[in-house]
Symmetry: C2
Subunit: 280 residues, 2 copies
C-alpha cells in the first residue's frame, strides 16, 4: 500500500510542479524526490506527471491522486491529533464556528449543554470564514457550527438547527434604509455600496469592486464608513450598532445553521452536544 511519505512528496511536487522547489519545501535533495515519485508511479502502475525539461504537468490520473492524497493526508493528521487528544485525557470538546455568527444560538447551546450532568469542558474556537470546516476535517475541532449554503458540509454528519432569512445591512441614513424589503438584484445594483470580498480558503481574494474583509469587525466598520453593504443572516443584527440599518432580502438564500461532526469520531461528548443542540 502507498505510504503517507510518498503521498506527501507527491502533493508537494503536484502543487509546485517543480521538483527542485518541491524538494526544498520538503527539506530534502531533489534526486531522492525524483526517485520517490518514480517509485510511486511504478507501484501504482500509473503515470502521474508529464515531465519535459521545461515544465512538469499533472496527468489526468495525477490530478485525481492529488485530490485523494490531500484527503488522505488530512485524515492522517486528524487521526494523530484525535489520538493525542484522547490520551491527554483533558476530556474536552473543541467546537469551531465563525466568529460573530450564530452567537445567540451558541450561547444557548453552551448553557443547555452545561446543564447536562455528564457535560465536559467545551473549548470554543472562533475562526474566520471557511476555517471551521478545515478544523473539523483535520482533527483540530470535534464539532462545528456551519452555515449552509456558505459552508460545505460535504463529508460530515450534520443536524439542522435553525434557518433564517437574510438581510442587507446599510449605513444608517442611507436613502434605502427605510425600505420594507429589497431584492438581491437591487442590492447588487448599489454601486456606491459594493458587497465585500471574503477570502477564499487559500487566503486569496476574488476579483471585484468591493473591499476585502476578513472578519465582521472590519465589515461593520466599512459599512459605518459608507464603503460597503453586506447581506447576512438576520440574527447577526445583534452584533450591529445604532449606525446600521437593516432591510430584509426575501430572495437571498436562507441560511441554515447546522451542527456538524466527522462521521466516524462520534465520541459520547460530541453525541451529547449534538443531542442538546437538536433539542434547543
Amino acid at each position: 500500500m502507498v505510504e503517507t511519505r510518498e503521498l506527501r512528496y507527491f502533493v508537494a511536487v503536484a502543487e509546485e510542479l517543480h521538483f527542485g522547489r518541491a524538494a526544498q519545501r520538503l527539506a530534502m535533495a531533489q534526486p531522492p524526490l525524483s526517485r520517490a515519485i518514480q517509485q510511486l508511479e511504478r507501484r501504482l502502475g500509473v503515470v502521474l506527471l508529464h515531465r519535459t525539461a521545461r515544465a512538469v504537468t499533472l496527468t489526468e490520473a495525477g490530478s485525481v491522486l492529488l485530490r485523494e492524497a490531500r484527503v488522505v493526508l488530512e485524515a492522517v493528521e486528524a487521526a494523530e491529533r484525535r489520538t493525542r487528544r484522547a490520551a491527554a485525557d483533558r476530556p474536552g470538546v473543541v467546537l469551531a464556528t465563525k466568529a460573530g455568527a450564530s452567537s445567540e444560538l451558541l450561547s444557548k447551546l453552551l448553557d443547555a449543554y452545561a446543564a447536562d450532568p455528564c457535560a465536559v469542558a467545551v473549548e470554543v474556537v472562533l475562526c474566520g470564514p471557511g476555517e471551521p470546516e478545515s478544523l473539523l476535517r483535520n482533527g483540530r475541532a470535534d464539532v462545528a457550527l456551519l452555515h449552509r449554503p456558505y459552508d460545505s458540509t460535504a463529508g460530515f454528519d450534520t443536524e439542522d438547527l435553525h434557518t433564517e432569512q437574510q438581510v442587507v445591512v446599510l449605513p444608517a441614513g442611507h436613502p434605502l434604509a427605510n425600505r420594507p424589503h429589497m431584492s438581491m438584484a437591487e442590492v447588487n445594483a448599489l454601486t456606491d455600496l459594493p458587497l465585500p470580498r471574503w477570502p477564499r480558503r487559500d487566503g486569496s481574494y476574488p476579483d471585484g469592486p468591493g473591499p476585502q474583509v476578513r472578519d465582521y469587525t472590519q465589515l461593520t466598520q466599512l459599512i459605518t464608513l459608507g464603503r460597503a453593504c453586506a447581506v447576512m443572516p438576520e440574527s447577526l443584527r445583534a452584533q450591529l450598532r445604532d449606525d446600521h440599518a437593516i432591510v430584509p432580502v426575501p430572495d437571498a438564500p436562507a441560511v441554515t445553521t447546522v451542527i456538524a461532526w466527522p462521521p466516524h469520531s462520534r465520541s459520547k461528548a460530541v453525541a451529547d452536544l449534538v443531542r442538546t443542540a437538536t433539542r434547543l
Copy 2:
C-alpha cells in the same frame, strides 16, 4: 507523520489483541511488530495498548486511533483505486447498489442517463446488504444507491430520490394476508413467521429466532416456505411471485432511496449521473 504501514500494523494488533496472531496475519515475525508499535507509540507520545503477559487491551487513545486508522486506510485504498481507474482511461462509472432493491428506479436512471449526450459506460455492481457503502468508501465504486435508514450515508454527499412506505411480505394464504394494514408490533408478534437475520458488515449474524439470509432470493424462498416474513419497501413487490401476499405497515420507517457519492471525487460523469437521477 505516521506512515500507513504503522497504521496497518496497529489495526492488526488492535483487532487481534495479540501480537503473535497479528504478526501472522501480517505475514511477518512478532518482534518487529512489537517494535513498530512501540515506535508508533513513541512518535505519537501516547500509550495505545496495555500489555500484560496475559492480555493486550486497548487504551482510550488506542480505540480512538483504531477508528481513525480504519478510515485512513480505507481512504488510502480508495485513493489508489481511483487513481488507477483514472489512468486506465476506460472512462466508466461504477454504480453499486443492493441486488434487488430499487430495480425499477435503477433501470429508469440508466435509461435516462444513457440519453445524455456525454454519457459514459455505467458498470452496475449488485451486492449484498451494507456492501455498497463500503465499496463507495474504498473506491471500488464511484456512486451508489443507498437506502436510508438501513444504510448509513455518513461521510457521503447524497441526494434523495424517492421515499416509500414499507410492507410486510407473507406467504400467500396466511391468515393475516388480507388485512388492510398491520403494525410493527403485530409483525414482531408473528412467532410462526420470524423476521430474518441479515449479516452484519463483518459477516456475522445477530442472534434471534429468524433464519439467516444473505439475499432476496433466499428470503423470498423462505417466505414461500412459510418460515419467515419480511418488512421491505413497497417497490420490491415487483420482485415477488404470486405465492406472496403483502400488507402495508404504516408505522415501519419509510425508506428513502438516495444516490450517494464520495464528497471529494466528483467527476463529471458522477455529477451528470446525479443530475439525471434528481430529475427523474
